[in-house]
Symmetry: D3
Subunit: 307 residues, 6 copies
């Protein structure tokens, strides 16, 4: 097992294979139909963060998509931890990793029926948590920019079903980057309410209150939930509500949440300074609380990667 120590191993439907060999058939429904369910977890101090919440949401998504993974949640948890163990030696001491689950409906059957004809394809991989792209935003803040297109409505596909049919997110992200190549996209729903980022949730601090959209029109993110939990613990008034562009323009603070970076402050919205244009005190307080919760200085970890 010497080789395992030098290259990352990926779990694919029962086997650990070297990352470079982690391939699936182009006839898999993941490729042919974007028909896969996913989760992204990260570690703190090399231990998965809220893995149970991720596995629970994974099974909710699979249920709605009617994909039979062929494993119980406990089994998937065990496989996940084994996969993490197989790659543990590759994690630098100061860094952490992603743990990504992709579960597709498996190889397609020909003809008119959409029912699952073959075992699901289970892909689980860990990956070095490369934070270099986000590191500077912890102190400078990023530029949040509204897309021109609108989020897929839940009556077409509920954003809470975390899935890999994400072309609309990619297009929205590209639109935002027309304004600023480093923009982080703010996608609105068809009624003009703030929905989500291409892979994260959005918060605003307005008159001392911590606000974020209800999951009516966005993913019910685990990082989002962590911020709500931390906010309540810190005594910050928090509310799940509906936000509009006006709220982000006039907010005192705005930030994104997502698995890899946890909290990413935005100091500009559509070219206009958020608040006084600096990362705000509530954002900092939440980042500090999250660091304390996990025993990892989140900002320092990311910034070390820049050196």
């Amino acid at each position: 097992m010497t080789s395992n120590d030098s290259v990352r191993q990926v779990y694919i439907s029962g086997e650990l294979v070297p990352e470079a060999d982690a391939k699936i058939s182009i006839f898999d429904s993941a490729v042919m139909l974007g028909d896969s369910i996913t989760e992204s977890t990260r570690t703190f101090r090399h231990e998965p963060f809220r893995l149970d919440d991720h596995i629970k949401r994974l099974y909710r998504s699979l249920k709605v998509a009617r994909i039979d993974p062929g494993h119980s949640p406990a089994e998937i948890t065990e496989i996940t931890l084994s996969t993490l163990d197989a790659n543990r030696s590759l994690m630098p001491e100061d860094d952490d990793c992603w743990i990504v689950h992709n579960i597709s409906r498996g190889l397609l059957k020909h003809g008119p029926s959409p029912s699952q004809a073959n075992p699901a394809t289970i892909m689980i991989f860990t990956d070095h948590l490369d934070l270099r792209g986000w590191a500077k935003y912890y102190t400078e803040g990023c530029h949040a920019v509204t897309a021109m297109s609108r989020a897929v409505t839940a009556q077409s596909l509920d954003a809470r079903v975390k899935n890999r049919s994400r072309l609309s997110y990619t297009i929205a992200d590209q639109e935002a980057r027309l304004v600023d190549p480093e923009a982080q996209v703010v996608i609105l729903d068809v009624d003009g309410y703030v929905s989500e980022n291409k892979g994260g949730n959005i918060f605003a601090v307005i008159d001392g209150e911590l606000l974020t959209p209800t999951p009516e029109n966005c993913l019910a993110g685990v990082s989002r939930q962590t911020v709500l939990d931390l906010g309540r613990k810190l005594g910050i008034p928090t509310r799940e509500t509906r936000l509009r562009m006006y709220d982000l323009y006039t907010a005192d603070e705005v930030f994104f949440t997502s698995t890899p970076y946890c909290i990413m402050p935005a100091t500009k919205f559509n070219g206009v300074e958020v608040g006084n244009g600096q990362v705000g005190p509530v954002t900092k307080q939440l980042l500090a609380a999250w660091s304390e919760l996990t025993g990892v200085n989140i900002v320092a970890q990311a910034q070390r990667q820049l050196k």
Copy 2:
């Protein structure tokens, strides 16, 4: 090249590989983001049908999705024909094949930017055109059933961008199959207008007129265009319009169009007979005209596969 004669060859980014080896990395944006553009062409008498139209639409989709395929349309056409040639010996004389193009944005880059970091992944394969699942519908008609979910609106992702982020279609299809395991789904848009089938377009014949939705809310299908062309040639009044469930309930004839089966009559809609419950004369006339156009008896070809 003897082996080429016995197994199908798939073109993947510059190489022909045996079908069983046609795999891509799970880190490809096709797998990770459903981020690929597609076309499905078929042959008649072993020659591709309206390939130029398919290639033209492919490049329109790529343009909107901002994927650089790294090839000109002429080059892709040439590769397509070569791939077909490499598999020609495997086609039974009486049968035909699919030609499928999948083009993804390639391997993903880490971090916050969505721009294309690597060459596109080009997948082109031919496949035996297995019509057994549809063959009986030419004479019996299928059961068209409305989904509960609604089509993704064009302001989220235009259905004319033929792509592989299709989970919403799969879910809609499953909903229809709750009514009848063999149902063919009729997806409505969020305003309740008939949009499309999971992989095809929908026509109705009402009071002698041939009607189909405008491409405002559905794929501008090549088969759909062929039917419109044939209809006009045959002197049947045709109109692109907006249809509702009422129109399908009260139509004299209803049928689907798609690349593999060309025209699939529906004789039941949500449990109610369409017209007199038989495949109608306009549908038959169009099928006959299409057979004549291509020199292939479309119905007979499919039915032979059942034997």
Copy 3:
């Protein structure tokens, strides 16, 4: 008054008549325009349940519909109780009855004006509460199925105006029964939010919380209110919110509420098991509390009718 003892008496605009003679002119606006307001109350131990709430809602509906019933709420209450008394001897000791109010705008006037030209037609009847159709669902749970059509929006006709123009509900119900002839329909509103059943409200228990749509898009049911009241009394966190299909797919428990059956558990939603596919503990707790409140074992009463 001997005859009163053997056939049910119906109150029609001032008179008690035998049920078989309970007829109205086909020129009544109830028949010609579906122009009538309604309430359905039931008895427990032969006494009307929350009759005041029903009468209050009745007068709210009449006000919005601009129908002048020609009686005060107190008068209608008195007539209701008299009608119940006239039929009391017909109620088996163990069973209960419906009390239904229909109030139409009365006989139509010809010509262009819609104003009420004649006295309202008041119909009040009691009816044996036949629970046989629902009895088995208390232990097995029913199958909740989403309709293809969408609920009438409140800007066309507010669902809180409890009325007899219900063709859209009937059609939605028929659509759900295409999936399962015994399906109980879940109607979504035009934005894809869960609205109501054809004659009842919908609840979900998710992560220990009792949830039901706000009356923005559904009837503000008296049974619904009873469940909210009982839930609060039992210390169950309750919330009026917006629900989507995702919530029903992933809920731990789902149930309907309506006057005749009080609470009807659903153990399947669109073919997928709700929770573990059994009637859940919160549902049972609420049914027990309701039974206690009324002194009638609701489940036993229904099941006795099956024997």
Copy 4:
């Protein structure tokens, strides 16, 4: 049959009964659920006008509502004509009559199933065509007024299913009459497009073109079709399109169409004069053509009733 000569006879499910006895059970689904399909035809010179079109539409509505009338179209036609014959002696020579069909799903069954448990209730009656309420509008024009509420969307209940669940129409009509007690209502759909009158269609003449909404959001009226037919015959450019309030405010002419009055000019819209405030030349031309078509001077017939 002497009595037939002196009172109108109504056909109810197989019997002719005197109008005063034309009653149905309050347990009929017509009363309990507004669950009936309808048609309104009129005679010209005592002969039904386009009866075949009405019967055809009736059967389309029945099909969508899944009501089995228990009779073929030919049988209903025959019954209709017999009913007309039975009342023919009562028609004054100069006047004409309505012929109204109401078909309900029949007596309700108890319990959870909505399927049709009993024979349909067939109601067919003729009625004196009382035009006094409309007569003056032929020369003065009426006042068209927009309702505050919006039309039921077709994804809830298609307006082409001509039915008796019409409370939303009555409420819209009442709203318009707040502006003017004699107002004729113009109902908009939820997107603000002109839909229909409570019992008729709406036309505008703008820059010489005759315009009316497509039946996407309104009844496909037989009178509407007659005007389109007459317009084409007269060489007036006609177009089915989408109209907004702006179009009615700035139109040269506006009129309604409906079975009893055929064409009713509107000379005021929301308090503003339409065109020059006079009944316009195209409206007059169409009325004249319709009179010629039927051999009845439509305006004169109505105005005679005022005397």
Copy 5:
């Protein structure tokens, strides 16, 4: 400065000028594009009420509209107070005044760019608070009437950006006045929810609870906030929610709030009595509390003007 004592002075971009000379170029963007931001404050006992809240909102509106006023909030406050001082001698002892801010983007530049080419035009004026038009409503209540048109959606222009592009409000107001020349308009949003009055907010008292729309679809009025604050202080349950016409029809009390009149009771809604048709106790209690808060008997002050 004698003249200052006899005519009101208006501040325009740095100068105090007599009211009659308060003019701006027709090439100002205020005239050419309705491109100005505004606030309306009033005094109580000659002191501005919640001026800081108005100035804060003014700067939020300017930020979203990207107008650079060229002054800090503190400077604008100071100018405002000076302008008030300059007119103080003209205020009758018992009366109060408006203080209105209009800030436009200034003179337009030619050609295709919309950026601000010139200094903003700052208009600040005080005006006698003429309450005669509203005085009688404090005791009689006004007539609230729904418009036919719908409010501009926030995804077009957020109502919280208090601005002078108000033609849609004027048109809605005119529509309501078709019903009653003294009507106060109730504008619905495109989904049929109650939004706002042309210059005020709307409250309902239902079953003891004080309800008003969230600012998702209306101005976040300072008077609205004052009522919410007073309600909470008085122990009245208050809730920001979504209201529909049904709520106003069936409310116990309805009132408007706006800067000049503070609270204006409505005793009729679309021709129907609100509650018992009298000004209600909660409305009176709130008016009394507001009078107490400011030391001005609000009702008496207005009614004195009628004498």
Copy 6:
């Protein structure tokens, strides 16, 4: 009248005044409510182009806005021509001028009523037609960019009512300029259909057909009509339809139309080349035809101004 020869004269409600004195009271409803109707005409060879069409549309807008201008169309035409004459000597021989009409409801009245209390304010001015900002686009093409906000829906304010309440257009324009400071904005409606530019219409040439949105969601521009007229005269298939972003991304040619520049080609759409990135042949053909129609080389006239 010597002074008239050296400075432009503006007509304001009965008087010609020098441009620098062209001011209105800040209490005018134009300033206070954006309550004015407008038209922009231009001259070719010093003669107004389609002035009758502009005046006709002006009166349609006034009618819908219920502003009484106090003049007949003929009178306004005469005043317009006189104003033009008064400024004729100032027009350079090679150049042309705008003629702008602004008509407001006049000075506001205090209190609750919105009716017009004073004579309308009539503003008519000519202005040098400064084309320098647009001149380069005739050969290079401009960059068309989609706004994030959506157009005001017609059920709030119909875009055909050409008015000065244009803040939403200004904000949309600013959003587009975040992408490119020289961007020309493409505003979508709330359903994602292409509506209009902030002051112009939008055309696409696709597969040889000339397409533009119907005036359901945009101004019915006179320049737009001119292009449609020219297209038909030139035998180019033209169609008023619904366009989406997909159409502009994949069009062969895209251009804007507006009074000052007539036709402005766009060679980039949201950062992507339109067609081959050059001004296309149909655009050039239409510009040439328009030049021929008016006797002014439109492109040359604009480009001369750059020298």
